[in-house]
Symmetry: C2
Subunit: 216 residues, 2 copies
Amino acid sequence: MENLKIVVLLFDGITALDAVGPYEVLSKIPNSKTFFAALKPGQINCAGGMKLYADYSIEEISEADILLIPGGGGIDNLLENTEMLEWIKRIHRTTKYTTSVCTGSLLLGAAGILKNLKATSHWNHIEKLKNYNAEPVKERYVIDEKIITAAGVSAGIDMALKLTTLVGNESLAQIIQLAIEYDPMPPFDSGSPEKISKELLDAFFKINSQKNSAQR
Amino acid sequence: MENLKIVVLLFDGITALDAVGPYEVLSKIPNSKTFFAALKPGQINCAGGMKLYADYSIEEISEADILLIPGGGGIDNLLENTEMLEWIKRIHRTTKYTTSVCTGSLLLGAAGILKNLKATSHWNHIEKLKNYNAEPVKERYVIDEKIITAAGVSAGIDMALKLTTLVGNESLAQIIQLAIEYDPMPPFDSGSPEKISKELLDAFFKINSQKNSAQR
């Protein structure tokens, strides 16, 4: 397999699993190399207190075969950042696939590259895609042209396995799925707003609004 | 809910998703705080090139409500490290639950705390548990006394949701599952050696043995 340059954007307030789920899949593609880039290189503070590390500033990265934009509460601080939006547009012109997980798709939208395309996002933020003239689609991941957007957080793992079939092949994707023993057995069937009980969905919104008002 | 101190061990050669999957679940438990500890604080080099960050040395951590030991190739370097094994034994005496993901269970075994208990590990390493007088069980996660061991890599997410029901309750676990939109839809059913084709299982072992000989 030819060399594959994977670039993962990091930023303060990122949801760590949005980046690490796909990373654990894509970094196992033979001859791939993953680059972690941020506005400034160095420590990245994730939602919840964990720290990741960006080796590169975005200005040091001029191209990518795969661009991955994770999501998280911190995405809001980037949606009007001209340096970031211009960089995404520039890198997107060089990619085989431009991808996002969770609210990362809002940043793709803000960069103007989801116009008139189908896309998805975290179920609680998906309607915001309309602000960027994208068509929200409630799927685990959505492929339109060379852009692949995944639903919330854990959906990045499913998306990355699909992406592996596109840049590699189905056998490779299955072998990587075995390597990470991805044979999911969640103890509940509550991973989407359509599946959880009305009572617990209300509880989710209540906790979420308390958290948001505490942050202000 | 009362305060919950979660301690995650980091080490060079860790599989990032082993730590980040459970972290993304457990850090959402109200009044929980997660501490990342390593032999020495600072940057941690994951398998595949990603970097994590440990804020604490293990000697700075003297207790935990939940201890989480992730796995990865780097675990082999710890299995005879007296400082590490003594620390695990010491912390285990203070925990509500002592947990592992993937080959992290081998370190629990090396510390002597799996003796005569049922436990699991990554499917390709599970038999090694016998070296520590543990009884290998092929399940997504295994609970015996206060020790919970999870199968390979992605199994940590399922284990952490179960653990959330034990330190919290089922409603909270379902809400967190919704928050991370954990409604898994893997593109293949190849996540266990019993499910993948014989041909691809052979291919996995071939790739794995090439990687191991390249590392030597």
